[in-house]
Subunit: 332 residues, 2 copies
């Protein structure tokens, strides 16, 4: 069977551009025992993929130039040589940006599409949900009445962090880059939300939004917002360092005020993490998130782009702040 | 009784100078019930006191201008209205820089001078020892075979950290500021020691000294050495942020390369702390340190300045790197 594939054409210097992506028609291999043929339904685009486009050593292996880009995909089994995944099953897996993929059934997880929309298994009930869950609940361990600050709050992970913090009884403050996102955060239950792009003095605005200081900081963006948060930390604050999207496209080492003195004075714990650090606890996390979703305490939020051809644009949009909640591409 | 006292004459801008100190003769108050009159034997000078000389909010209250500076003191009871502390007892407490002090017995701890030299209760078996103990063993939790890097390794805390790391079976690398200190570190069992002042490329030297990367970093100094260590962190590294002496005298916010991206990629935990965070566990720490000292596994190391009049000079010497091990002043 023929399939469209999206290859990494070249490695970006700085912000990626459409030139980094190359469409190609490929032939899918014949199925062998234990394999399934998959029709892509939803493709996930995520900031961490920027790191994989570089050759530099990071926490996941780089993409190869001339090979398909890969990531989280929800797909339907349309041909099966696996007893565990019959035709018609919906699965999630790490798959190539192709309309069709052949994969070993054992590398895929079946998803219960009767419980939530299929795309949610790339967001609220997938990697971003688990990232929010472990980063906030395991690293920050917020207590009722504490103030939780989330940067990139309208992003896939940030929106879930804020909702989880509200479930835990915290005051929740978020930063985002448009007034629309700010309204959305407030509608979702955030106590305060700040448009960092239009606020002239972000440090002052954050201080006003967190009058009792910051106990937990879930950082998705880094840079100037994070600098300002460091000045608001309470004694024994906890920081979950999840992402630094403001610096991912930097071509030189970003510099700024040194945070160590502030972390020292407040006995703050700062923990970098990636969701795979918690692999053994994923079933626990998925079960809890699904429970809160079913109870109506957690909402899934998405920005859906339509069409396989628009995957690169949806990915590039992450760095322009185009998405609210999880950015996914509906392919079929 | 009359006593000499050393007052804070003015708050320093940048590096403190002798002008910040003022000698004055004061009268000690008469004893009331439960109090003792103390003759100062040893005075501790410590980098954290620089913070207390500023008015800025920090983890301990600022010293008052025109009032005596205070800190760790070992003293002998020469007059007593307390049943628990008879004349002749040796105690440690937080006391003014005076030749004589009056204090409530309940604010003092008796020290067993039969077990170790009296001054050691300001160093190995006092606050610096406990700082090393909790920072290394609780925050970093080094495992046998791991690499532990210590900056300011020849200082009061650093020397103990290195020895504790050797007890735990680690490879230990230290940085210090003179060749004499480097030799001393090696004699104490450090696997590698680097003179950061004479090494042209500190990053390269640290990389060579830690060929398997850094698992634990105990940071006393901050600045350029710390920047270089961030590039050597192994996955799941742990950093105990104990001091930042390289920046304590800075008059503007120190800047440098942002560490967050590196901490994120390696899932590193960085924890700022002060020894009082562990107050409830001090008895455990003192007991363990005393046990290792008695067994000959830990050595106390001091730089002793003689004479009450030289307390300011001994304090100022901390910022010039004059001391190896704990800096104390022998008063009587």
């Amino acid at each position: 069977m023929k399939t469209q594939a999206i290859l990494l054409a070249s490695r970006p210097q700085g912000t990626p551009t459409p030139e980094q992506f190359q469409f190609e028609t490929r032939e899918t291999p014949a199925l062998t025992t234990g394999q399934v043929l998959l029709k892509t339904r939803y493709v996930s685009v995520d900031p961490y993929m920027r790191g994989r486009m570089s050759a530099a050593k990071s926490y996941v292996a780089p993409f190869e130039v001339g090979q398909p880009i890969a990531g989280g995909v929800v797909a339907e089994v349309i041909e099966s040589q696996s007893d565990s995944l019959p035709v018609g099953s919906t699965v999630v897996g790490n798959l190539a940006w192709q309309e069709f993929n052949v994969a070993d059934a054992q590398t895929l997880n079946s998803v219960p599409v009767d419980k939530a929309p299929a795309s949610y298994f790339l967001g609220l009930l997938g990697m971003p949900g688990l990232t929010a869950y472990f980063g906030l609940l395991d690293i920050c361990q917020p207590k009722a009445g504490e103030t939780v600050l989330v940067s990139g709050a309208a992003g896939a992970v940030g929106l879930i962090v804020g909702q989880l913090a509200k479930i835990k009884g915290c005051r929740v403050v978020g930063t985002a880059g448009t007034d629309e996102k700010v309204s959305h955060l407030k509608a979702l239950g955030f106590d305060e939300a700040i448009n960092y792009k239009t606020t002239p003095d972000i440090a002052k605005a954050l201080a006003a939004a967190a009058p009792n200081g910051v106990d937990c900081y879930f950082d998705n963006v880094g840079g100037a917002i994070t600098d300002a948060v460091y000045d608001l930390l309470n004694k024994h604050a906890r920081i979950a360092l999840c992402g630094q999207i403001s610096t991912y496209n930097a071509t030189e080492t970003p510099t700024g005020p040194r945070p160590e003195g502030k972390l020292l004075k407040t006995s703050t714990k700062l923990q970098g993490f990636i969701v795979s650090d918690y692999l053994s606890r994923w079933p626990e996390g998925i079960a809890k998130l699904t429970e809160w979703y079913a109870a109506g305490q957690l909402k899934g939020e998405e920005t859906v782009t339509e069409g396989f051809d628009h995957i690169p644009a949806a990915f590039l949009g992450l760095f322009k702040g185009d998405n609210t909640g999880k950015a996914v591409v509906k392919v079929a």
